[in-house]
């Protein structure tokens, strides 16, 4: 269980998280939804300690985060599209992370195999396509059997086949008991994955709860429509999705 209370984060004058309180259940897949600028990425970065909130508390598995870094050993993180220096190879990133985690357990490369890019791990990122680099990022997040997966827009830039592979893997992780948080503004992507929904708007949790509850409440079986209905259809950005 991840519990946050009153998380507040400003960038200059702009309030990105505005007293955000939320719960993310263990062993389930939580879809982090919301329009661009709602604070999804910031929320995830705050969970990871990459961004420092001005106020609020976070507890993961009952442990209050106090600035010590150890808890991150249990987290696999896939950031939004990143551009590592071109001379680095996927292998380098893997060994880097392994070194820092101080583990001698070999990284789990089954996802790389599933993507069919075992060879690409040995090539510099600079010569690889954007999609392939994104797959390598995914491999990195899953490689060290994390208890918590934080995936920020993981499907962006992936072809449908790779999306399928990734989704299967996410489901497999849940079966293993891993907690997964996925952010996306493309709701369809999460249709078949999400157990719970945490909907952010203007830096607050606008709605949170189980998908089943959502569909029950709204009578909609489509996640997208359910959310739209929930919010009274007054949110134009959902029309885009």
């Amino acid at each position: 269980m991840i519990v946050t209370e009153g998380l507040t984060k400003r960038f200059g004058k702009r309030v990105v998280l505005d007293g955000l309180s939320a719960r993310i259940a263990t062993g389930r897949i939580t879809a982090l939804l919301g329009p661009n600028g709602a604070g999804k990425t910031t929320f995830l970065k705050v969970l990871l300690g990459l961004a420092r909130p001005e106020a609020g508390r976070i507890a993961i598995a009952g442990e209050l985060l106090d600035g010590s870094p150890e808890y991150r050993a249990n987290i696999g993180y896939m950031p939004q599209i990143v551009h590592f220096p071109g001379h680095l190879r996927g292998r380098d990133l893997l060994s880097m992370v392994q070194t820092l985690r101080g583990t001698t357990v070999k990284p789990d490369l089954s996802l790389a195999e599933a993507f069919g890019l075992t060879e690409e791990l040995a090539r510099p990122l600079g010569v690889l396509s954007g999609g392939t680099r994104q797959k390598i990022n995914a491999v990195l997040a899953f490689a060290f059997t994390p208890a918590l997966l934080i995936l920020d827009e993981p499907t962006a830039g992936l072809d449908p086949l790779a999306c399928r592979v990734l989704k299967d893997r996410i489901l497999a992780e849940r079966a293993r008991g891993t907690t997964v948080v996925i952010s996306s503004h493309v709701l369809a992507e999460l249709e078949e994955l999400a157990d719970d929904v945490l909907f952010l708007a203007d830096g607050k949790a606008a709605w949170s709860g189980a998908v089943s509850e959502l569909t029950q409440k709204t009578g909609e079986h489509n996640l997208e429509r359910a959310v739209a209905r929930l919010l009274g259809g007054g949110m134009p950005y959902l029309a885009v999705a």
Binding site: Y71, R72, H83, F84, H87, M96, T99, L100, R101
Partner: protein
């Protein structure tokens, strides 16, 4: 500690893999070789080398340092998402960037002289002094570059600030000092002058190198206070101390920024 060390090795390896440090060393070596060929060694070469150290090294430290920080930004984020304390990561990032840079500057500077067997010649001590000052300046300016790059997320802006700081420290500040000295020529200005010099690490390094060179003959003329403050071994030790302090100032600033920064 072992984590920091592992990290440091990692960053150093990354710095070296970038290959531009090797290019930088080769460039400086080529420059030194040219100097040697055209001025035939001796005092003229040393004076030119002094220019390289005082002008080029800070420029390299500031520009390359700023670029390295930005270049490593995404890797830094990846590292930050690992179970690593930020303080350690900063130490590793800074040392891993600054030390290889300083080493490549020193190696580049000394290589042609070593090649021609001049390193242990008459000017050997002065050469080593130059190399030492270059290393310190590289460490200082890289720390400054960290402050700049961590505070200015935009690459172009950061580079602009870095160049601006170089322009001020390498050129304009001395112009201001000269102007002050001219305007207050009739008053005792040694103390404010010393303070103004101390505020610019490039000036400290320059005065330090002056003390070790032929030009030191002149410093005797600058009046009792300058002579007493800077002359002699104690003065030189104090100047080296000041330079070291000049590593710590931007280091502390950069470290604070890094520990509080949102990535």
């Amino acid at each position: 500690m072992t984590t920091t060390l592992r990290l440091l090795l990692l960053v150093v390896r990354e710095s070296l893999r970038g290959r531009w440090l090797i290019g930088l060393a080769l460039l400086l070596a080529a420059l030194g070789e040219l100097l040697l060929r055209f001025s035939g060694g001796g005092p003229t070469t040393l004076v030119s080398l002094l220019d390289v150290v005082l002008i080029l090294t800070p420029l390299i430290g500031l520009v390359v340092g700023t670029m390295q920080v930005h270049h490593a930004r995404e890797v830094t984020e990846l590292l930050l998402a690992q179970p690593i304390a930020r303080g350690r990561l900063f130490v590793a990032l800074y040392l891993g960037t600054a030390i290889p840079l300083a080493v490549s500057v020193v190696v580049g500077l000394l290589a042609p002289f070593a090649w021609h067997g001049l390193l242990f010649g008459a000017d050997g001590m002065q050469l080593l002094g130059l190399a030492g000052a270059a290393a310190l300046l590289a460490l200082i300016t890289t720390a400054m570059a960290f402050v700049i790059a961590l505070r200015a997320d935009d690459r172009v802006r950061a580079l602009g600030i870095a160049l601006g700081i170089w322009l001020v420290t390498a050129v304009l500040w001395d112009g201001i000092i000269l102007l002050t000295a001219m305007l207050l020529a009739d008053r005792p200005i040694e103390v404010p002058l010393l303070i103004m010099l101390a505020l610019n690490p490039l000036d400290i390094a320059r005065v330090l190198l002056l003390l070790g060179s032929d030009a030191a003959a002149l410093l005797g003329y600058t009046g009792a206070i300058v002579q007493r403050a800077l002359g002699g071994a104690a003065g030189q030790v104090a100047l080296v101390g000041l330079l070291t302090l000049w590593i710590l100032v931007p280091w502390t600033l950069a470290s604070r920024t890094f520990r509080r920064k949102d990535f």
